[in-house]
Structures are given as structure tokens and as C-alpha cells.
Symmetry: C2
């Protein structure tokens, strides 16, 4: 899979879409979105502005909002629609929404007639810095995340902060956690720069966001370009996700949903604790990160009674090929990720103790 993906930073989504349409000359164009984005962004902002232009006749298909509708069954409904509307291999799908929309719409397009082209227009920060970039598409299956999918690059990703004002603070924070992760994978300077910003400031505006977003996306793009199908280096992007996924699964058992980025933020703390336990990172980095996360991301409550369950989730994480021990991505320093670190159950429990200490729980 060649990395030919264009990433376009713009304040004018409509103009950019029309230019791309002129370049790609699709036989038909379909917007794929969810009800929430349709109501808040596509309906009021994008569709009226397309009137009179080359995309005036674009179709819209909107799915129910949420992760629970990211299934093969729902993709079949999308395929039915594509067939009814006579889409061909030279048609174009524009995915506009968060990660659920770009993952699912990318998969639907990639498999229809063995591959239509698609464009991603992320409307969340999390999607802009993560899901929309890098060619992973897919849906959940039997409750397991992204079990069914393919690697296929969007023709273009359009990144614009112009829709982000619609985001609730929780969504903004969730995306920012992945940006912290990218900064940690990049360099000490990037880490400092990101944590110098308070994501919860109301006046945290475009002029601040855009350069940070660009830098963050560049980190992901560089790593993906080196390893598009995740056979090695790309696992670096899993930093914070091994413990993070376990926290998400535990929350689900408790019938609570926590935003993905929050789980990543807590998981980053666990990964940094483990890195520090190996004397790979100094304590000041741990304290700085933990303090930022505690201030902005609240706390995920666990007791030592939860450890066996958390360990069990980590052993069965889909990125964990080795069922004997758990493999983490850790840091040998800021900007120096180390993939496939085997960590014993005892080490994990010790790290969870430190996590609880740091958060005073």
C-alpha cells in the first residue's frame, strides 16, 4: 500500500471538496455520515454551501450515531444504498464525521465493487489525529473492535478546525490525549509544547490548535509511512493503549462508557510508570504527565480487586500475540518508543499500585 494520501489543512471544507471533485471526476458522489454530524455540520454548514457547484447533486447516507452501529450488518445497508443509487467503481464516497464514520465508510467504499475511492473529513479532533489518517478501515464484530476491515488509504483527508467548535469539551479532551501520545512519541520539545496548553480553556482557538494538529498528524503519518500494515514500527502508536483498552473493557463490565481518549490518557500514565520502573524515563516526566492527566481527565477508579480482571483483558488484547506475557509499547525516552516489551504480571500490578498512588485512590 503506497502512502499517497494527501492531507489538506484548510478553513474552507467546501472549496476543498469542490477542487478534489474536479480532480477526481467521480461518476457519482455520496456523503456518508451519522445523524449527529448530519444535523450539526453537514445539514447546516456544508450542504447549503454546495448549491450551484459541482457537488450539488451529491447524495447523503446517514447512519445512527454511535459505536454500536459500527457492524457488518449496517455496512450491508450502506452497500444496498450504493447499489440502489447505481454507484460504480469510479464513484466517490466522502466520509464526514468521527472515527466510527471514517472507519466504517472507508470499509464500505473499499469493498464495494472491489474498491471505490473515498475522502475523509474528520469532524472530531480524535478522528483528525488518529482514525482518519493511515489507511485503517473496519467495523466491529461480535463486540470485538475493528475485527473486520482492510488497509486502504483515503484519496485525501481534509483537516479543518472549522467544525470543532461544535465539539463538547469531553470530545475535545479525548482527542487531545492522542495528541499527547504523539508528542511523547516525537520529542521532548513536542511533549513540553503540548502540555503547555490547557485544552479546557474556552479561548483555546484555531491559531493554537492548527499548528499543534499539523505536528501531531505528521508524527502519525511518519510512523504509518514506515510500516503501513502494522508489522512492526507502527505498534509504537499503541503507546498507552494496552492499559487503556483494559480500562475501557473494565468500564464496559461496569456498564459505564468512558471516552476512548480518557482511557488512553490513563493508559499513558501506566506506560510511563512501567518505563520509569525500567529506569528508561526520569520521574519528572512521569509527574508532569500524571499531574496534567489528573487535572484534565479525572480519575478512573480501581482497587487491587480489579487487578486480575485487568490482567486478563491485557492478555487477550488483540495486539497481544503472545498469551504468556503482555507486550507493551514503552518509552526509552521521549521520542524513543520501544515496541513489544514483555511485561510480567507482577510488574503490571506494581505499576497499577503507582498509578493509584499518583491519583490518590
Amino acid at each position: 500500500m503506497p502512502m499517497s494520501q494527501q492531507i489538506i489543512f484548510t478553513n474552507d471544507i467546501v472549496e476543498t471538496l469542490e477542487e478534489l471533485h474536479d480532480q477526481l471526476k467521480p461518476s457519482k458522489t455520496v456523503f456518508f455520515t451519522d445523524d449527529n454530524v448530519d444535523e450539526k455540520v453537514l445539514g447546516p454548514l456544508i450542504s447549503p454551501a454546495l448549491k450551484g457547484g459541482p457537488l450539488e447533486d451529491a447524495l447523503v447516507i446517514s447512519k445512527d450515531e454511535g459505536e454500536m452501529y459500527k457492524t457488518v450488518g449496517e455496512v450491508c445497508n450502506v452497500w444496498d444504498f450504493f447499489q440502489e443509487e447505481g454507484l460504480t467503481r469510479s464513484s466517490l464516497v466522502i466520509n464526514i464525521g468521527g472515527g466510527v464514520v471514517t472507519d466504517m465508510g472507508g470499509f464500505a467504499a473499499a469493498c464495494f465493487k472491489r474498491g471505490m475511492r473515498f475522502i475523509n473529513v474528520p469532524t472530531t479532533i480524535l478522528c483528525a489525529v488518529d482514525a482518519a489518517i493511515g489507511g485503517k478501515t473496519g467495523v466491529n464484530h461480535n463486540g470485538l473492535k475493528n475485527e473486520i476491515g482492510v488497509f486502504r488509504e483515503a484519496e485525501a483527508v481534509i483537516v479543518s478546525t472549522s467544525t470543532f467548535y461544535t465539539l463538547p469539551m469531553m470530545e475535545r479532551l479525548s482527542g487531545f490525549a492522542e495528541m499527547i501520545k504523539h508528542a511523547m512519541l516525537s520529542s521532548s520539545e513536542d511533549f513540553d509544547e503540548v502540555l503547555d496548553n490547557s485544552v479546557t480553556d474556552e479561548d483555546f482557538d484555531e491559531d493554537v490548535w492548527l499548528p499543534l494538529l499539523k505536528k501531531s498528524i505528521e508524527v502519525k503519518r511518519r510512523i504509518v509511512a514506515a510500516d503501513p500494515t502494522e508489522s512492526g514500527l507502527r505498534k509504537a502508536l499503541n503507546l498507552g493503549h494496552t492499559a487503556g483498552h483494559a480500562f475501557e473493557s473494565l468500564a464496559m463490565r461496569r456498564n459505564r462508557l468512558i471516552p476512548h481518549g480518557f482511557a488512553v490518557a490513563w493508559g499513558l500514565v501506566v506506560a510511563v510508570v512501567l518505563s520509569k520502573m525500567r529506569n528508561w524515563l526520569p520521574s519528572n516526566i512521569l509527574y508532569r504527565l500524571a499531574s496534567y492527566v489528573r487535572t484534565n481527565y479525572d480519575v478512573f477508579h480501581i482497587t487491587c480487586d480489579d487487578y486480575p480482571q485487568l490482567l486478563d483483558f491485557m492478555h487477550h488484547d488483540k495486539k497481544n500475540f503472545d498469551t504468556e506475557s503482555v507486550r507493551f509499547t514503552l518509552l526509552k525516552g521521549l521520542g524513543r518508543p520501544e515496541i513489544d516489551c514483555q511485561v510480567s504480571d507482577d510488574e503490571i500490578c506494581a505499576a497499577l499500585d503507582v498509578y493509584r498512588d499518583l491519583f490518590g485512590i
Copy 2:
């Protein structure tokens, strides 16, 4: 998509599979097949021979036989099985069967965890010279053929005539039609060589089949390598299929199923008639082909009352991007395919008149 596909010609499928297993070192291996192949080939011939070897613990999943089970719903059942058995991205699927099995098993493998490796072991001639080679995977959707799928190459294709003796004569003939097509795309010499064989001879044995098969597969491989995702040259392989698909669809309307290769054989005659009408081919080639097809493939009965329906099917063929006229692959000579030839409805009707004359109907 790089053309890295190995095609292995062998008389010992088991030994070849064991060697490939040693090279690929999968975490788990699954045979994907259908009930008919399971009963006639996998159960009696392959499975017992694997005892004591590295593939002894390979799992088997078998689907109901037939095109009607080549659906997204059935692929979901396969994915359920893959999940239950704990397959990972480093597992291996061995598709053993005809085109329905290799298309569907390839698609199931290509999308599970964004891509497991797979090997194709065609058990029909049609599959060996066509479906198993070239990276097209997919399933039908709402009655439309191969609507959902991806381009993904098998790690290896194992071609062995050792299972072909189980094929009914109709299956053998059906595969041979694609071999005639490949010969026509290749050269005048190949065309003569193929038609010098009588496929219905009972003593038509391995020593004759194998070199013909190799040559035929090489023609397809060469064309696919030049255009893996069918943006141009690969359409040459569509020779005979525009009229052929229309005959198949008409038969379906009449509640009759005709073997795909038979429809291709009749469709080749129509394509050659059209090429001759443009003075691209001499009459002796048309007569030689028509006589071979009439002798071996029976006749598909049509009257001029069927023309509007046949034209309608051709206009809606999925390879026909242009709804105003029908685009055929024709021949400027043997070995000189010309893709995307616009043919008017009047020309098609005239060609169907000649087809009926040639077959005396």
C-alpha cells in the same frame, strides 16, 4: 498491489502445503471448502495424508455448496468461526475448491483483522485458470455477482490436475472455455493448439492438460501483472463475457442455470462475429471457433424477441461504465485484444443474427 503470487504446479498437493506451512509459519491454519469438495477431495484425499505432519491440527470449515451461499451473511459465519478458534493476523487460510470457495475464502481472509494470508488450491479447471489467479476476491450481494470484495493476492496458488478426475464433463468443458479465451488473447498458435484438442475425449489426460493449463495461466498472469486493479488492460480478460453474462442472465430469467464457461463460449462467438464485422478478423477464425463451440457446448436458444432483453442486460453489465452504448472487448487479430470498443445496439442485433445463423437456430 505487487504481483508476488507464487503459482506452483505439482502432483503432490499435500507435500506442497506442508512446505508452504514451514515457510509461512502460521499461528493457526484453517481449510476453507464446501461440502462437495470436503466429501470428494479434502476428506478422502488430503486430510488423511496430513496425519503426522505439521498440518495435522489444521481446522476445517465447510460451507454449503453453490453460488447462492456466496453472500456477506455466510462470510459472517466464517468470521464467527475464525473468532471462536482464536485466529490472529498471522494465521493462514487454505481455500480448497472451485471459484465460489476461492473468491469467498479469499475475501473472508483478506478482511479478518485487516488481513490474514491465504493459499488457493483450485479443484476445478475453471478456477485454476481464472478465479484462483489474479487477486480478485468477493461475494455476491442482492443477486449481483461479486459486488462486495477486495483485490488481494493469495500467498500461493497450488495447481494440480490430481483432483480434476472428479470433475463432471460439464465442469471440464466450462473451464476449457476460459482456456480458449486465453488462447485467443495470446496468439494464433495458441488458438490452434487449444482447438486441436477435444476436451470431451475420455483419454484426455494429465500429460496433455498440464502444459495447456500452464500456458493458459501464464496468459492471465501476464495481463493481471500489467494491470492488477483493472483500470485498463485487464479488461481484455472480459472477452466473450459481455454477451456471455447477458446469456446467463436471460437463462436465469427462464429459471435455467447454465455453466459459466458455456455462456463464455457462446459469448466468444458473438465477440468474434463483432470483430469480423469490423474486418478485424478473417472468417476462417470465426468458422473454426463456431464449429468447435457448436460441437462441444451445445446451443443457447434465442429468437429476435429476446434481443431487447439481451441488450438491456448488456447495458447494465457492471463492467459497462457507459450507459449510452455497450463496450465490448474485441479482437483486432488473435493475440490483439482491443478493450472498450463502443458497439451500437444495431451492431449487436446484427451480430446476434449471425450467431443464430451459425448455430442454425
